[in-house]
Structure formats: structure tokens, C-alpha cells
């Protein structure tokens, strides 16, 4: 059940924290891009720069005991769900101190203690896990909700259809959050989906649908809150459609040859979730205060890099651990 401290909307007093969190994610991912370009980070990485409001707004609305499943674009979700930047950065550097102890990497971030059931490098791969986790909660009578993030591209895969259908059929406490940034890698929505409003996907299951501007963290929070309350109270799963913007390439290093160069720039001007919140907070947070905030999170990010770099490399033969329980 919704606890007292979880209100339907974000309290004014929380907005400073919210801003800090979003800014932390932004600076963290910018640093990740920088370190990747410097050749320091191995693997395959995707940043969610521009989509911070979705991660923070949704995760703030969760209660203790709730769990999430994330995607290939997982840094923001992971930080918002409470993993310390040090542990996340250490993971990206492949260190034992990382949140997946160096076994996972950017697309396989886990933090079970903090309710993160895992990022997933397979599109749709985590959706049935959320249905199943919610089923476990339902069967045990626990007031918990399982929540999945996924993208517009993911609504085309069969796993999506099956997992949501099953969740609705069984009325499990699950929330499915579509981060609709209008792109699946290089493929624009018009080329991957025959419908122009992806909320219509939920009609195939008769699932309750909520919509919000994914760039407006207050709207995201409010909508996620509504969805979670609905699911938690036993009324069945909810499909949440967030209208989002991807500012950068699909993966770090993506030259985006397929995309109008101006599109992202313009969107960044008008729909940057951090800018938008900052404007709203003009009266309560001065430019100096913002700069302080920025300095603070930037230092945290710098520190995370230091932490990660001085972390412990796994021994090669550690690779043979954790294969079985």
C-alpha cells in the first residue's frame, strides 16, 4: 500500500533533490562518453542523455520492495534506483567493486539489494521477468510492484506482446513504462511501427494506459505514482507511455548518419528535462545554487571515476565463478 511519504505529486521541497539526481545522471553519462572516447571503457554503451526525467520520475515513485527491469540504456535507471555512482562506474570499468562485480557491463547492470532485477541487452528480454516477479508478489500477497522500462522499438517484438498479455490476463501488479524516444537505433518510429500512437499497443490486451510528457519530471512522477497505486491495489497492470527525447546517438560513437543534424539540437533547446525543471525552479534555485549543485554532482562523478580506476580487476580465472549457484 502506498505509504504516507509517497504522495500523488512531488512535493516542492523534493524538487531540488530531483534536479540534483537528474543532473548527476547527465554528468555521469557525459563522463562515460568522454571516458569511452578516451579509450578507457570497454564494451558497448548506450547513454540516455535527455531521458533523465523518465528514470528519476519513475524511480522516485517506487516504494521499498518494488523492483525494476531495465534495458540496454540502463545507466539512468540504475542510478535513479539507488545504485551509487561509484559502483556503477566501477562496473563500466570492469571492476570487482562494480554493481555486477565486473561480470555484467553497461547492458547488464544489476543491484538486487536496491530492487534492480537487471538491465537487458536483448530487446524485450526483461518484460516477462517483470510479469513473473509481479506474479510472485501476487501469489505471496506482498504489496509490491514490478516495473519494466522499454523503448518504442521494443513494442514490435513478440516478447512484449506475450509478456503484457499475460500480465493483464493474470492481473498481476506490474507497470510497463514505454520510453518512447521515437527511434529504435537508426530506425524512426514511422519505419518500425504502423501506428502513430504507441498507447494503442495496450489495446490488444485491454490494459489500462496512462500517458505523460516524459521530459517533465513532475508529470512523469505523477503518472508513475498513479500507475503504481493502481497496480499495487490489485487492479491490474498499467501501461505508461512517456513521450521522450534521445539527444545523442544510439550508442556511444554513433555518427547518426540517419538523423537530421538539427533535430537533436532543437529538441535539446526546448525539451531538455533538466532545463525545464530548472526554469520551473527559477524562483527557488538561483543560478549560483545551480552551479553549486552542478559542481557537487560533477565532483561525485569525478570521484566515481577515481573509485573505479583504483578498483580491483577480477582475476582472469574468476570468469569461471558464478556460472552455477
Amino acid at each position: 500500500m502506498a505509504t504516507a511519504e509517497h504522495k500523488a505529486t512531488l512535493a516542492k521541497s523534493e524538487l531540488g533533490d530531483v534536479l540534483r539526481e537528474m543532473l548527476l545522471i547527465r554528468r555521469f553519462e557525459e563522463k562515460v562518453e568522454e571516458r569511452f572516447r578516451a579509450g578507457e571503457l570497454p564494451g558497448f554503451l548506450h547513454v540516455a542523455i535527455g531521458q533523465e526525467a523518465s528514470a528519476v520520475g519513475v524511480c522516485r515513485a517506487l516504494e521499498d520492495g518494488d523492483v525494476i527491469a531495465s534495458t540496454h540504456r540502463a545507466h539512468g535507471h540504475t542510478l535513479a534506483k539507488g545504485t551509487h555512482p561509484n559502483e556503477l562506474m566501477a562496473e563500466l570499468y570492469g571492476k570487482q567493486e562494480g554493481c555486477s562485480h565486473g561480470y555484467g557491463g553497461s547492458m547488464h547492470l544489476y543491484d538486487v539489494e536496491r530492487g534492480n532485477m537487471g538491465a537487458n541487452a536483448v530487446i524485450g528480454g526483461g518484460l516477462p521477468h517483470v510479469t513473473g516477479a509481479a506474479l510472485a508478489f501476487q501469489m505471496r500477497g506482498e504489496p509490491r510492484v514490478a516495473l519494466a522500462f522499454f523503448g518504442d522499438g521494443a513494442t514490435n517484438i513478440g516478447t512484449f506482446h506475450e509478456a503484457l498479455n499475460l500480465a493483464q490476463l493474470w492481473q498481476v501488479p506490474a507497470v510497463f513504462v514505454l520510453e518512447d524516444n521515437k527511434w529504435a537505433e537508426s530506425t524512426p518510429e514511422s519505419q518500425h511501427s504502423p501506428i502513430r500512437d504507441l498507447s494503442d499497443r495496450a489495446k490488444a490486451f485491454g490494459m489500462k494506459t496512462l500517458k505523460a510528457d516524459g521530459q517533465d519530471v513532475e508529470a512523469v512522477y505523477k503518472t508513475a505514482r498513479q500507475a503504481l497505486d493502481h497496480a499495487r491495489s490489485g487492479k491490474g497492470p498499467v501501461f505508461v507511455h512517456l513521450d521522450c527525447v534521445r539527444f545523442h546517438g544510439h550508442y556511444i560513437g554513433d555518427p547518426q548518419v540517419y538523423r537530421d543534424k538539427d533535430e537533436a539540437r532543437k529538441l535539446a533547446e526546448t525539451r531538455d528535462p533538466i532545463k525545464l525543471l530548472r526554469e520551473k525552479l527559477k524562483l527557488s534555485i538561483s543560478d549560483e545554487e545551480f552551479e553549486e549543485l552542478d559542481t557537487e554532482v560533477t565532483e561525485m562523478v569525478e570521484a566515481s571515476v577515481e573509485f573505479a580506476k583504483s578498483g580491483t580487476d577480477p582475476a582472469p580465472e574468476d570468469a569461471l565463478k558464478n556460472v552455477y549457484a
Binding site: V67, G98, S100, H101, G102, Y103, G104, H108, Y110, D111, V112, E113, M117, G118, N120, V122, G125, L127, P128, H129, V130, T131, G132, A133, A134, L135, A136, F137, M139, A146, G158, T159, E162, A163, N165, L166, L169, K321, N322, V323, Y324, A325
Partner: protein
């Protein structure tokens, strides 16, 4: 020692585990009122209710994936995939997810799920309802793979699979459901990873799985009449594989035949042959024979189907060939 059919033995393991532990539950297509397409779960709906004997839509990916998700949250789901052929639909979840979640999380999570499935020819359903695909899953680190051939084994191994903290792909063979056998009064868990010697012998070791265990036992009796003494060993769990038992048997007999119903090419027998030739090289007096299905999809017409999959005669021929009496 009570006598149970293989079908009853599976049901008994499921039922007893469900009585003992609220976390154990079943998911699958038509497992509730109908009791499963093979009748394995008949009567269980009445005892355990529809929450725990849970009919699913035709959604192999979601059914496998939801079982995985529930297991990540501490349940012990047993998901039934009606026919092995449909494991192809659940393959992403079984292979990329269940097998790897523990590993990718650096050991934070366990995935104690069982995927029960069945297959096998001998009833002419055609090419899409009788394949044997166990070899695929042996190739995937993180999975355990069981293929039981007797009522006793299937009960004791299913019990162990349910209580194993790892994902287990559990193969049953359609033609074995009606066979009878004695089982211990109380369920005795059979450790995963231990082979069973069904018959001791001196001249040749036949390593067989599933239906072919029984065909091999028949062949061994025939061979006996020709003065060939045959040891028959069933690995029972294909992953982990009890290499030691297989190798030590072959070191004794100096000859080996590997037999399964799956297609010979790239079948489980290839792995066994590769292991044996390596570990028992100096002991082998003849090439390791492989017995399996011929290289074609399963045909419909019974005469063709019978030709494609192996029988006791094929094992016998291989035995004779390996002892030079072909």
C-alpha cells in the same frame, strides 16, 4: 517398493514438492483441467488449485520468461513446454536469460526454475512434434540438463531439479510415460551429475539416454546370446556430465557405443565420443560407435519414421560392429 509409471513418477515428484513448499508451482499450456497434453498433471488442479497449477496462454516466451522472473523473486516454478519443438520459441529466455542471469549479476541472483518438456518419435506426428533437442542446451553454460529414462530416475531427478538453485532443462520422453518401475517408498533425491549403470558387462559399454536406454538394454540381451557382454550406462544428467563414470566403464570394456534418439550429427553422442576418445584414448580398441536418428526431419509415414529413428537393432548392429562381429 511401490510401482509407478514414469508419468505417475513425474506427477508424484511435482505433487510432493508442492505439498512441502509453497514456492513450488506449475505453469504451462493445458496443464490444469486437462492435466497436460501428456496427462502428467492430471488431478493436480483439484489438489493445488488454479493458482499453483496455472494454465497459460500459448505464449512460450512469456511462460518461460515469467517463470524466470518468479524464480528471481524466490519462487521455484516448474514451467512445462508442451513439446520440445516449442523450446525453440522459448530459446531466448532459456539461453540468454535463465542461463546467464546469475552470471551477469555477478552472483547476486539465482534462477531456480525448471523447464519440463517432452518429445520423441514413434507415433508419427510429423516433423514439428517429436524432435529431440537436448544437445542444444548442453552447449549453454549456466543450464543443467536432465534426461531421465525410468520412473525411479525421473522422480528422484525431478525432485533434485526443483530444489536446485540453477535453471534446469528437464527432458522426458513421450514413449516412456506408460512404462512402469519400482520406486523407493519415500522420494530419494538423485544427485544431478551422476550416471547410472543399468547393466554391467565386459566387452562394450553402451552409453544411452532416454528411450534408447531401453532399446540398448534389449540390444544388450540379444548380444549376450551371441556371447557379447554389454555394460549399459545412462548419464541421466547431460550437464553436468558424469565423465568419470563413463570413462571408467570404457576403460574397463575398451569399446563404446553412444545411443540416443536425437539426430546423430551434432547430437549429444558427439560430445560423449569427443570426451571418451580424449580421456580413454589408450584404452579404446575400436572407434566409438554413434547411434542416433538419421539425417532428416521426422517424416510422417510410419515406415519412414521407423527408419529414421534408432531401435534396439541399430544398437545391436553397432555393438557387433565395435566388437568386430558385424
Amino acid at each position: 517398493m511401490p510401482e509407478l509409471t514414469y508419468r505417475e513418477a513425474v506427477r508424484d515428484a511435482l505433487s510432493q514438492a508442492m505439498r512441502q513448499d509453497d514456492g513450488v508451482f506449475l505453469m504451462g499450456e493445458d496443464i490444469a483441467e486437462m492435466g497436460g497434453s501428456m496427462g502428467v498433471t492430471q488431478g493436480m488442479l483439484e489438489e493445488f488449485g488454479k493458482e499453483r497449477v496455472r494454465n497459460t496462454p500459448i505464449s512460450e516466451m512469456a511462460l518461460a520468461g515469467a517463470a524466470i522472473g518468479a524464480s528471481m523473486q524466490g519462487m521455484r516454478p516448474v514451467a512445462e513446454i508442451m513439446y520440445e519443438d516449442f523450446l525453440t520459441l522459448a530459446a531466448e529466455q532459456v539461453v540468454n536469460q535463465a542461463a546467464k542471469i546469475r552470471y551477469m549479476s555477478g552472483g547476486q541472483l539465482t534462477v531456480p526454475v525448471v523447464f519440463r518438456t517432452q518429445g520423441g518419435a514413434g507415433w508419427s506426428p510429423g516433423a514439428q512434434h517429436a524432435q529431440q533437442l537436448e544437445a542444444w542446451f548442453v552447449h549453454i553454460p549456466g543450464l543443467k540438463v536432465v534426461f531421465a529414462s525410468t520412473p525411479e530416475d525421473v522422480r528422484g531427478l525431478l525432485w533434485s531439479a526443483i530444489y536446485d538453485d540453477n535453471p534446469v532443462v528437464f527432458f522426458e520422453h513421450r514413449t516412456l510415460y506408460p512404462i512402469k518401475g519400482n520406486v523407493p517408498q519415500e522420494i530419494e533425491p538423485i544427485p544431478i551429475g551422476r550416471a547410472r549403470v543399468h547393466r554391467e558387462g565386459e566387452d562394450v559399454t553402451v552409453i544411452a539416454t532416454g528411450r534408447l536406454v531401453h532399446e540398448s538394454l534389449k540390444a544388450a540381451e540379444e548380444a549376450e546370446r551371441d556371447g557379447i557382454s554389454v555394460e549399459v550406462v545412462d548419464p541421466r544428467t547431460l550437464q553436468p556430465l558424469d565423465e568419470e563414470s563413463l570413462v571408467s566403464s570404457v576403460k574397463k570394456t575398451n569399446r563404446a557405443v553412444v545411443a540416443h534418439e536425437a539426430v546423430t550429427r551434432m547430437g549429444f553422442g558427439a560430445e560423449v565420443a569427443a570426451v571418451l576418445q580424449y580421456q580413454a584414448f589408450d584404452w579404446l580398441d575400436a572407434p566409438i560407435e554413434r547411434v542416433g536418428a538419421k539425417f532428416s526431419p521426422l517424416p510422417f509415414a510410419p515406415v519412414m519414421e521407423a527408419f529414421v529413428v534408432p531401435h534396439a537393432e541399430d544398437v545391436l548392429t553397432a555393438i557387433k560392429r565395435t566388437v568386430g562381429k558385424a
